[in-house]
Amino acid sequence: MRRRKQNNEDQAEVNMTPMLDIVFILLIFFIVTATFLSEEGIDMTPPPESDAPPPPDAPSPIVVQVDQDNNIFVNRVRTDVDRVLSAVNRFRAESAGSAVLIEANDEASHGIIVRIWDDMNANGVPVSLTRTDGEAQ
């Protein structure tokens, strides 16, 4: 009587062990393959095109050109990358609310464009990006 009882409980334990093994192996697999990817970044996608003409009283944009040698021109005045914001602010003081248009040569470096874009965004200046493929102006 006693012996049979013990046997029954032994079997119950034996049924548990392989499942536990499998569960642990699965657990270890998922722990090892888990990649906690954290990325930070900015959104540089252009706004959707609209057919509506711009309002007639919209101030003309401030053009920031970046040529293939990473020279920066704000409204055709050559500027340093650190001084783009102050140059833009000077033009914006004259015509408030004007946006910035970055005209990037295809060979301009990514870092410079992101830096200008970010500077403008951080200071609430509306900014958009177009590309000029070809020779410098």
Binding site: M1, R2, K5, Q6, E9, A12, E13, M16, L20, V23, F24, L26, L27, F30, I31, T33, A34, T35, F36, L37, S38, E39, E40, G41, I42, D43, M44, T45, V66, A104, N105, D106, E107, A108, S109, H110, G111, I112, I113, V114, R115, D118, D119, N121, A122, L129, R131, D133
Partner: protein, 134 residues
């Protein structure tokens, strides 16, 4: 004798009781890792990304890297610009709601980055530009 038998039974019950909470915890861990695991294909290179102040947290499921030599890396392989369309389609088939992040090197040409971005937008993928992590 009967008394001894019952003591043996309680001993074995206790052994089983010790197992159950651990099993619960293991299962909860297992489910956590299954749910949070993203099988993301990493580009295999780590470009020097530009710094930015206005960065937001992204949760990309597709990574495209461009290094300073303007090589485009996806899933540990270099691709020519013309070869990108099929590989993007293939990645989209695996994960139709993918959001892409371009990891561009500071020294990379903006033209390449914008070409890749345009291509991804044409395929209906949300694109963001990765910046330096603190």
């Amino acid at each position: 004798m009967a008394r001894r038998g019952s003591r043996v039974a309680t001993d074995e019950e206790e052994v089983e009781l010790n197992m159950t909470p651990m099993l619960d915890v293991v299962f909860i861990l297992l489910i956590f890792f299954i749910v949070t695991s993203v099988f993301i294909k990493e580009p295999g290179i780590d470009p020097i990304r530009p710094e930015a102040l206005t960065e937001q947290d992204l949760n990309p499921s597709m990574l495209v890297a461009v290094n300073s030599e303007n090589e485009i890396w996806i899933d540990r392989r270099v691709y020519e610009q013309a070869e990108l369309q099929p590989i993007i389609e293939q990645l989209l088939q695996e994960n139709p709601k993918a959001r892409a992040t371009i990891q561009g090197d500071e020294e990379a040409d903006i033209g390449i980055i914008l070409d890749v971005q345009d291509l991804l937008i044409e395929n209906g993928v949300e694109v963001t530009i990765s910046t330096l992590q603190e």
